[in-house]
Amino acid sequence: MRRKRSNLFLGSFFIIIFILMIILVYSITKEPSLITTVIVIPLTLLSFLFFIMGYKLIRYEAIHQVTLDDIRRKINKHAKSKGIVAAPIAIIFSGIDGSGKTTQIKLIAKCLKERGLKYKYIWLRSASYTSLLFSAFFHLLKYVMKKDLEYGNKVIVKVKCWLFTIDMFIRSIIRIRIPMKMGYYILCDRFVLDAIVDIISEKENIDPLRSIIGKLLLALNPRRSITIVLDVDEHEAYKRKMDIINVDYLKKRRRLYIKMADILRIPIIDGTKDPERVHKEIIEKILAHHPIWYVFNKKNEE
């Protein structure tokens, strides 16, 4: 009896909210405009929902007996398992050219595919929207020489850095954040760390932990992300890739990657080993802590 009374109480509560919302909707629609229409539609839907809930509460018992056949019927209806729902992560690989980033991304992509998970592969070393316009504008005006845009004039280099940061922000929204919200795992070939290394190597000496540009760039990393630096000896990397300028270029960048990874506490994995071994190490050392990867590990063990 008490249970029925409480149902009536809660049901009536929802129906009262429904009535109040209908009154609110009615008063808003008296002065129709685009904004009021935007408010009215969700309010109407919400009030309808409250009505349904209130009705159900009044109409049905809180706990009711069912037979095994009833349950069997329901289970058959819902038998399709929808799989993992954990929010996806972005796995970012950084390192010098020829360190094996693409190979490792392919192996992870294969795992995700086998598991029926959606993923997107993106290459995000740089982005040029505003910075490209800026460079083109000054170049067309012959205001400065091309070398000034890259190395010379300090003010211009600084402005270019800021514009580059804005571009990276825009690109990360479009290529990383939105797809992640759509349920895609992101496999990212280069990102923030590489951008920082690029900026430092362009003679703009920034401290990623103190400078505003450094902080802004680091903030671009999604919270649910893992960055991994793949490290290989510069001579080995030079052998792997034919289009690299020279070994010194790689040596300089490798030093920067190791230094930055150390400052930012990013794990470094030795990429000189066999690709399968490196892949196993990545999963064991870093990704094993992520809930979904435990299933991968288990599968591998079996």
Binding site: I84, V85, A86, Y294, V295
Partner: protein, 352 residues
């Protein structure tokens, strides 16, 4: 045994913390019993004390003993049946502390097929099935052994088709089952989640109920005493948008262990990682303001944090990972739960 004795004194102090003297409680016995029940602590704890009103409590102690006995019997029976038939399952939300009192046996099967198999086994063993009406998952079934039938009694076996509290999605069957382990619970061998999943489920469930009882804290202390992967716990909470729930639980564990056991069981680094999130910082602010001097169990979470903030943060995280209808149910359950709890409180008040 020494630890038990120590905890025993601490519990008494904690449960009676709101009272000026023991005599206050003897005058208002119901309040004392209510305090124990809210904290899911057995009144047996009072049996060996020299409280002046001990005789009045005797019937309640017997009632608790009976409930504990019936719970162990049901748990043993269900565990044996499911293991015999090879049904893939795990028992969740079981407080393993000897003073904790359990109200039902919660089971998480691998998938609906395993659930059906389990229900068929229980049906043959004489169980009858019940379902809860509004908003709750359509496959959530409450089997009840009819010979022990007391409708309001808490001897239900509770089948969770998914780790969802009302409809709030917090985990995945497959992951929990893949990490499950066999453990001895009250002398019975059964499948339980890994320590990390166990603590996570208890923490998120308590947060969903807007109350962290003392029994869950004692359970947490036991769980983290095993080899514990904090990194996994953080990633899990981050993936399902439940950092707020885990943070408040860890905070309570930290304050309790530091204040009552003499050493903090949770390092500051762990908590600081959570505090990088705005929602955890809001909780920190509230927690420090409310429980600055001492913890008063059960810890009650304000609706603003547990309902409003949590609904947007949790559903925002799961956006894109679940269907829109599931997301809507998830969102609504954040608001339905406090309403249902409010109603229960009103019912309890009128009963008192």
């Amino acid at each position: 045994m020494k630890l038990d004795e120590q905890l025993f004194r601490l519990l008494i102090d904690n449960v009676l913390s709101n009272c000026c003297s023991l005599q206050d409680y003897s005058a208002n016995l119901r309040k004392l019993i209510r305090k124990f029940r809210d904290n899911k602590i057995s009144l047996k704890l009072l049996a060996s004390t020299n409280l002046p009103f001990k005789e009045n409590i005797e019937p309640y102690i017997v009632e608790d003993e009976q409930q504990q006995k019936e719970w162990i019997e049901t748990f043993a029976l269900v565990s044996r049946l499911l293991r015999q038939k090879g049904i893939i399952h795990v028992f969740i939300k079981i407080f393993r502390h000897p003073w904790a009192i359990m109200s039902d046996v919660d089971i998480l099967p691998l998938n609906p097929t395993e659930e059906l198999k389990a229900l068929e086994v229980l049906h043959d063993a004489g169980f009858h099935f019940f379902q809860v009406r509004i908003l709750v998952h359509p496959l959530r079934v409450l089997p009840l052994k009819i010979c022990a039938r007391k409708f309001n009694a808490s001897l239900f076996v509770d089948f969770y088709p998914k780790p969802v509290w009302t409809r709030k999605i917090v985990h995945e069957n497959e992951i929990i089952i893949s990490r499950r382990q066999i453990s001895e619970v009250h002398g019975i061998e059964a499948y339980v989640p890994s320590p990390e999943d166990d603590l996570y489920l208890v923490a998120t469930h308590a947060y969903n109920d807007f109350k962290i009882p003392l029994a869950s804290i004692l359970h947490g202390l036991k769980v983290i005493s095993y080899k514990f992967d904090w990194e996994y716990l953080f990633n899990l909470a981050q993936s399902y948008g439940t950092l707020d729930a885990v943070y408040v639980y860890l905070r309570a564990l930290e304050v309790y262990s530091a204040g009552y056991l003499g050493e903090s069981m949770i390092s500051k680094d762990i908590l600081e990682r959570y505090e990088m999130y705005k929602i955890c910082r809001s909780i920190k602010k509230w927690f420090e303001k409310t429980y600055e001097k001492r913890l008063d169990f059960p810890i009650t979470i304000p609706i603003k944090l547990g309902s409003i903030y949590s609904s947007f943060y949790h559903c925002g995280t799961l956006l894109g990972c679940v269907s829109l209808s599931e997301l809507l149910y998830d969102f609504l359950s954040h608001y339905y739960t406090p309403l249902a709890l409010l109603l229960n409180e009103l019912r309890k008040e009128s009963k008192d």
